[in-house]
Symmetry: C2
Subunit: 366 residues, 2 copies
């Protein structure tokens, strides 16, 4: 692991934060902590790196300031727990951290937090300030998603041959950093990321990964952080191209967009999560005609779909002609299309024809 972000470094950085504050108090000053500002006002699209990034606006919290003292206290409350987690080498989900640090302050009736919507942003603040991924702070998110394919990994010391994981597959954990997940023998040529678990099961049942020498994974809809981070690590370290297979609707496009450029909410993590080279293999808004699918398997666009598409059309990373054509065609046709609709041809059409041909013919969008 990068020394800068190793466990030791996290503990050291928390200590430094605390020492600065103490020495500031001792020298009679007003201690402060400075954070990059998050949210839309400080997010931009980096044209060189091709990802959503956080700008350089900051905010400062002072201890001797009635409006900021509580947040200041909360920051150190969470920092203390994270240091404990790192020291004990255990992890905790954000909800448990909230409960663990919730208590009444002194003899007052004041609570450290009213609810979790107060503690979650403090964890994100610390991620940025300490320059560490949430996972490196030993903070877990939910666990969704499965993986199989021509690859062996080590997970928490256990060797797992992803070629022999049956119909279920290996569950992708929330924390997939190098000290937990290591990559061993890999013959795979690429990663196929599939939006839906039920479609992934079709690919696994047909042993698509064996026939096409790849790794297949899903994230149970919108993929959690662990899944995104794992795809990125495999892309970087195993040099595997990433193909994304999602529904032809705004939700599917959003999933692709997040994998590719990162999200506005987690803009500060794009450099460790986003994969600008990720390739969109479908569904495309041109697929219904192209594959002669019956019209009645399409779904009418709703007003909310049209509104979201017009927003997506304005995203800098969808400005390329091919993406504008793709999105405008969806609006013109007035319909969306789900992955399951391909079974109108036959159940194996998606695994035996659709995806292999798209990849073979380089019929994808970037």
């Amino acid at each position: 692991m990068n020394k800068k972000n190793s466990d030791k470094s996290v503990a050291e950085k928390i200590d430094d934060l605390a020492k600065d504050t103490v020495s500031s108090i001792e020298s009679g000053n007003n201690p402060d902590v400075t954070f990059p500002l998050r949210g839309l006002s400080n997010v931009y699209f980096d044209e060189t790196q091709k990802m959503v990034k956080l700008g350089d606006k900051t905010q400062t919290r002072n201890f001797f300031n009635v409006g900021q003292a509580k947040k200041f206290m909360q920051t150190f409350l969470v920092a203390r727990v994270i240091k404990e987690l790192v020291k004990e080498n255990i992890t905790a989900p954000i909800r448990s951290i909230y409960y663990n640090t919730k208590h009444t302050i002194g003899d007052t009736s004041e609570e450290t937090w009213e609810d979790q919507s107060e503690s979650d942003p403090i964890i994100e603040d610390l991620e940025i300030t300490l320059g560490s991924l949430r996972e490196e702070l030993h903070v877990r998110a939910g666990q969704k998603g499965s993986m199989v394919g021509n690859l062996t990994i080590i997970d928490a010391g256990d060797t797992i041959d992803l070629r022999k994981m049956g119909s279920g597959g290996w569950s992708i954990p929330s924390i997939v950093e190098k000290d937990i997940i290591k990559f061993k023998e890999c013959e795979a040529d690429y990663i196929l990321f599939i939006e839906k678990d039920t479609i992934w099961s079709r690919f696994n049942e047909d042993k698509f990964w064996k026939k096409n020498n790849c790794v297949i994974m899903h994230g149970g809809g919108q993929p959690p952080r662990g899944v995104r981070r794992l795809v990125r690590r495999m892309h970087d370290e195993l040099k595997l191209p990433v193909y994304v297979l999602v529904d032809n609707d705004v939700y599917g496009l959003y999933i692709y967009s997040v994998i590719k450029q990162g999200s506005i909410n987690l803009a500060f993590e794009s450099e460790r999560m986003a994969i600008p080279e990720a390739r969109f293999v479908g569904l495309s808004s041109f697929d219904q005609e192209k594959y002669k699918l019956p019209k009645n398997v399409t779904l009418k666009l709703k007003d909310i779909d049209r509104k979201r598409i017009s927003e997506v059309l304005a995203y800098p990373w969808f400005k390329k002609k091919q993406w504008q054509d793709e999105l405008k065609h969806m609006v013109e046709k007035g319909v969306k299309l789900e992955l399951e609709a391909l079974s109108a041809k036959d159940f194996k059409f998606i695994t035996e024809k659709y995806v292999p041909e798209k990849i073979k013919n380089k019929d994808w969008l970037v």
Copy 2:
């Protein structure tokens, strides 16, 4: 596998259904298919078996009946696809079956289905009529949930040692019938079923299953059919008691209730899914006082919670005094409690004290 419900038998039973219809037409009669009636009006609690079951009310669909002819056609449309799935030995999710069978009828503008809410009940009708689990009809549901523990299984021919599944675990597939999942070496003394993935990760990280010789699993919230069926098979075939660990709220109680007695919607499956002996180890509404948890980690009951609790109080399977006390105490206190709230003690309290003591002291509800 039970010969009666084997693949061959499913295909035979579909053939029988079709042959009856054809011979009925040939002899000049009005062909019909009779189904047990589903829904609340034909569901009851079987006091002997201690599970929710389907009554003996039936409904008949006639081919020569304007109001029933379409449903009659739809039934055979789905039956045909299921026979194909069985014959080709592939599985499909209900959504793909919907798309696969959606088409315009002859020269009319009439569709076989308007939407999936029409095709799903037909699949359930066939489950009952053919006396086969949906899984035996090769119909898949979603895939959620993970498992690890002192047990080796075979999944689709691959041997999987659940003692060596790292931090992620094995993903529980949707279809877990005997021809796909087989049980091998098992030292485990019991199954711990945990509502939430994030809490399950705490138990896996602490190697709870190793220290306490058990299997731990979660179903990602409300468990899908595959998870319920797998717990039941392990309970029956490996003779393992099942302990259920859920939030102390109506949602958690409902999850426990479904595992234990079955659900109204799937009453026809209770005999193959429900586990009346399942034990509720928590959270209990008495736990906050008992474990001296701070009051501020409880959450206020909402009106909707109170309404649901009054419904639950009336369920025949919650009529026992201990359950009535449990539920009434929740109402009196006016609060609910999440599993994560136990981390107010410390992060490992749940794995090192709470659950081991509950099990050791037989401090559970049945």
